[in-house]
Amino acid sequence: MSRHYQVESGMSLTGSNADHRILVKPSEQGAAIANLYNEVAKLTGGSSISAPKVNDAALGMLKKAAKDLVENKGKSLVLSGSNNTSEQVIINATNALLGNIGTTIDFNEYSNRRQGSDSDYQNLIKEMESGAVSTIIFLDANPVFDGANNAKFKAALAKVGTKVAITIAMNETANVCNYVAPCHHNLESWGDANPVAGNYSLVQPTIAPLFDTRQAEESLLVWSDNTMNYHDYLMENWKSMQSGSGFASFQSFWDNCLHDGVFSTGATNNSVSFSGDVNAAASGVSQPANAPLEISIYESVNIGAGQYANNPWLMEMPDPVLRTVWGNYISVPVNWDGINNYTAFENLEDGDLVDVDINGKKVSCIAMRQFGQFPGTVSIALGYGREVVGLTGKNIGTNINALLEADNKGYTQYYSTQVSLKKLSKKDPNFACVQYHHTMGVTDNGKEENKVINADEKILGYKGFQGSLTKRNVIRRTNLNELPKAVTELKEERAEFKRLNDRTLYPGHQYKYTSGHHWNMFVDLNSCTGCGSCTVACMAENNVPVVGKFEVHRHHEMTWLRIDRYYYGDINNPNVVYQPLMCHHCDNAPCENVCPVNATNHSSDGLNQMTYNRCIGTRYCANNCPYKVRRFNWLDYTTADLFGINENRINGEELPFYADNLTRMVLNPDVTVRSRGVIEKCSFCVQRIQEGKLTAKREERQLHENDVKTACQTACPTGAITFGDRNNKESKISKLIHSPMAYRVIEEVNIDPNVVYSMKVTNRSEETIG
C-alpha cells in the first residue's frame, strides 16, 4: 500500500487524503524541499546542498519521509506545486536521486497540459506598456481577472490598439476589448486535441449552436483570409496521420477515430536524464520569513481560478474540505487548549467578517475555522469575486486574484508573508456551510491526564466546536498495521448487530428480496478522495435544484448525495475521512412506515421510491431518516407552480434561473421536476435502472452488470462507487458487499440499508502512531 506525505500549511483536498501531513509555513516550502533533498542525498550517498532552516517538527517528519522514499527507490515520487523554478529543479534532482525518472515519471507519455508560462505573461505586460503590441487576441482567456498583477495588465492593455476577445460569455477581459467575437460552446464545436503525448482525440458537436455565434477556429480562418471551413480544415489536418494507422481510406480512418474518440500513435521513446545544477538551484529557493502571519492562496476545487464561477452547480457544491458554498472563506487555524476547549486564531468564529491586508491591499473576507491549518498561517481560495460574468458568479466571494504578485522571474507566487488580519465585529448574515460538526475521534495527549484523550468527548457541553460521543458506527477506519485487528472487531460487532436485528417481532420474512433484482451500492472510503464530482453529477442527472447561498445558510440545500467530512486522529494535525452519503434504500425503511399517505414505499427490487404526486409534505419521513438524506422543497425552487411569491432568487436575478428557458435545457427529461412542498431524495438513478431493464428486455436477454450505472458511479474518478444487483451472484457488487472490510452505517438500528461501505485504511508510519 502506498504512503502519502503532504507538505503544506492549509488543509488541501490532496493533503486531506494524505497519510501524513507535514506542516510548514508557505515561506518554508523551499526550505522543506531543500531539506528533503539533503535527507535523501544523505541516505543515497549524494552530496548535500545549502538549505534554509525548516521548523523542527517538519524536519523530523521529512527525515521519515526521506527514509521511506529511499526504501522505495524507483517506486516513489516527489511532486511540488511550487512556482519557483529553483525549487522544481531540486524536486527533479530528488527524483533523480531516487531513481524515479523513467519509472514513476514517464517521459514517453507526458501530459501536454499546463504549458502556459507566467513569465511570458509578465513580459507581455512590459511589452504592452512599452507600446510594442498593436493587436492582441484573447482566446478563452481572462487575464484581466485571473493573472498576477492584473491591475497592471489592465492598465497596459489600454495601450494596445486592437483588442479582440473570443469568448463564449462576457468576462473582465472581453469587457475592455474593442471587439468581442462570441464563439461556440465546446458542445457546439468541432475540434481536436492532443492532451497526452501520442494520443489524439476529436471533438464533435452534440447540439446545433443555440445562439448566433461562430466557432473560434472558424473566426481565425476567416481573419486569415482562409476560405476553407473549419470542419474541412480539421479533416485536412488529420490526413497526415492516416499513414501507418492501418486504414485503407482516409474516410474509414476518420470515421473510426470519430467513433472511438481517440487515436493513439503510440508512445514516443525519449531518453531523459537529470542534468540540472542543484547547487545553483539551492541559492534560488524561497527563504523562510519571520512574519507573524502568512497566507497561502490556492485554486478552488470548485471553480478553479474563476473560469467556472458562473456555474451554479459548482458554486453550490460544497468545498470538499471547508464544506462551505457560494464564496471563498479564509481558513484560520484552531487552537486546542489541551484540556477541553478550542479557540480559533484571534478568537474568530465561523462566519465572522475579517479585514485582510495582503501585500498592502485590503480585502474583506469571511472566516472559517479549519483543523489542520498550521498556526501562524491562513489560507484562502482564488477565483471568486468576479465582476464581469453572468448573474450566478457576479460578486460572489472575495477577489483574491487581484492580490496575486509575481516573483522577480515573473512567476506568480501563491503565498504572501506581508499579511495581517483584523476581526470585524460583524458576521456574515448568510454564512453558508453544510456541515457544522467536523470531528469524529480526534485525540490528543491531554495536558491534565497525561495520556491520550478523546478530545471530542472532552469538548461535550462546551461552546464553540461541538463535542460528541464518537464511538458511532458511522465511520470505520484503521491503520494498515492494525487492519487484521480492525477486521476481527468489525466481524464481531456485525455478528452482534445481526443477533440483535434477528430478534424481530415479525419473523419469517427472510425470503423477501432474495429473488429478482436487488439493488445495492458499495462505497469504498479508501478510494473516495472527497472531490465532489459525484455530487455534481447527481444534481445534473436528477434535476436537483440549486438554491443559493441564503437557502443553504438555512440548511435548505437539496443535494441528494453529499460527502460528509470528518477529522480524526491528532487534533493538531488530523487525518480526514470522506463519506459519500445518499439514500440507503433501507429494506426496513423507517421513512416508509411513517408516511401517512404511502408516498414513499418499497419496490420489489429493493428501491425506496418517492411518489412525488402523492406526497403531501408532512416531512415525517425526513425526521425519521437516520441518515438525514431526505430533502424537502421548502420553496418553489424549480418555478413549477403558479405562485410568483415563492420563487427562489439566487443572486439578484430578475427572472428566476429555473424560469429561464435556457437554464431549463439542463433539465434531464427522464426525471420529474419536483414542485414545492414535496420530499425528494436519491432514487439510485431509477430512470437508468428502468432504461437498462428496457434495453435488456428489447434485446431479449438478461440484464448485464454494465447495463445500469448510476450517475455518481460514472462520475467518480477513482471508482469508489459500485452499483449493481446483489442477487446476481456473478456481479461485482455481490462480491464486494461481502468483503471483510465492508460495513453498513448504523447497522444496529435494524433498518437494513442497501448501501455498504468499506473501511478506510491509512498507511501511517507505525513509529509515528501514538
Binding site: Y436, K471, E551, R554, Y566, R619, A622, N624, P626, I645
Partner: protein, 476 residues
Amino acid sequence: MGAYVSPVREPLIIGNKTYHQITEDICSPTEKTPTKQFVIGFILAATFLALYVFSVTWTVWVGIGSWNLNRTIGWGWDITNFVWWVGIGHAGTLISAILLLFRQKWRTGVNRAAEAMTIFAVICAGQFPIIHMGRVWMAIFIFPYPNTRGPLWTNFNSPLFWDVFAISTYFTVSLLFWYTGLVPDFATVRDRASGWRRKLYSNLAFGWTGSAKHWQRWESLSLVLAGLSTPLVLSVHTIVSFDFATSVIPGWHTTIFPPYFVAGAIFSGFAMVQTLMLVCRKTMKLEDYITLEHIESMNKVILLTGTIVGVAYLTELFIAWYSGYLYEQFAFYNRVFGPYWWSYFGMMGCNVISPQIFWVKKFRRSIFITFFMSIFINIGMWFERFVIIATTLARDYLPSSWSYYSPTWVEICLFLGSLGLFFTCFLIFARFAPVVAIAEIKSILKTAGDNYIGPNAVHAPHHDTHSVEEDNHSHH
C-alpha cells in the same frame, strides 16, 4: 334567603344560593350588554385571530420555506404547537368524564368551561398538522376514501394517520358531550329570553322541555358519553406520543412516552383551566361557584401530574444512561447540555420544580400564585414539546447533519395567532352560553345530609360553617 348546609362538609357553592339565584347568576352574562373588559378582551383576541389568518395564508402562499425548519429539523414550532394544544385539550374531558365517573361533584363548577376549552384547544391543535403540510391542498389524501389509485391508499402503519382518527374521534365525542350538557342550559336561557334570542336559543336547545323522559335520556346519554370519553382521554395523547415513540430517532424511540404524554397533557390542561377559570370567576363574578376549593383541588391535580412528569423526565435520563446505547445517551446529554439547554432548563424549572410549591396549602389557595403558576406550566409544557421535537431532531445519528433552528416571524405569529383563535372562540362561548353548567351545578346545591336553613326551615341548622354564619344569624 335560604340555603342548604352540611354539618360536616364545606359547601361546593358558597353565598347561600337558591336555585333561582343560580339561574340568575349564570345566565345574566349572556343577557347583559357586554362589559368593557369583555369588549377589550374580544378585540384583542380577534386581532390575534386576524394575525393567525394572515400567517396561515402566508404559509400556504409562500410555502413552508417561510419557516426556518431545515433538512435536519423537519418539525419545530408547528408540531410543538400541535402537541401543546392537544395536551391542553385533555383537561376538559378528564374533568367531565373521569371525574364524573369518580363522582367528584366539585367538577360541576368548572366542567362546562373546561369542556369548551377542550373543544377550542382541539380546534387549534387540529390546525397545525394541516398547516405544516407542504401541499396542504392535497390534505384529503390522508383520508381513506375510495379512489381509483389502486394500491396507493393511506398507510395504516403511520402514527400520523392514527392521529387523524385519534384527534377527530376525540373532537367529535368531546363536542357531543359538551353540547349534550348545554342543551338543558340553552333551554333555561331560552325560557328567559325574548325576540331573536329566544329563536336562537330554542334552536340551540333542540326543543328541550325538561320532561322527566328528557332528563332520563339526558342522564343516560351523559353517562354513555362519559364512558366513551374516558378511554379517549388516555388514548389520544398516547397516540400523539406514538408519532415519536414508533420512530427510530434516539430521544423519540421511547416506551415511556404514552403515560408520560398523558400525564403531561392533564398537567397542562389543568393549568390552562386554572388560567381561564381565574379570569372568568373574576370578570363574570362567579366566585361563589368556582371557589378556592376548586382552585385547590385543581392545584392538587397539577402537583400530582407535574410530579409524574418530573419522574418521567428523570426516568428518561436514567434509562438513557442505563441502556448503554451511545446514541440514546448522547440524545439526552444533548438535551440537557446541548445548544438547546435553555429549553430543557425552562421545561424542568416550569414543570417540575416550580409546581412543588403546591405542597403548601397556603400557596394552593392563593389566587395570585395559582395564576402565575398556571402560566408557568403552560410555558413549561410548550418547552417540553419543543425539547422533545426540535432538540432531538437537531442532533441524531450522523454528526455531519446536525443543525440548529430558530423560528421566523411566521412561525411565531402562527403560535400567537392560534392563541387568538382559541380566545376568540372562548369569548364567544362565554358570551352566548352559560359558562357554568346550570343544571348540573344545581344538583350539588344540596347533597345528602344537607339541611335547609331558609324560611320555613323546620330544623335549626348546625352552624359551624363560616360561610353561612351571617345568614344563620339573621334567622335566629
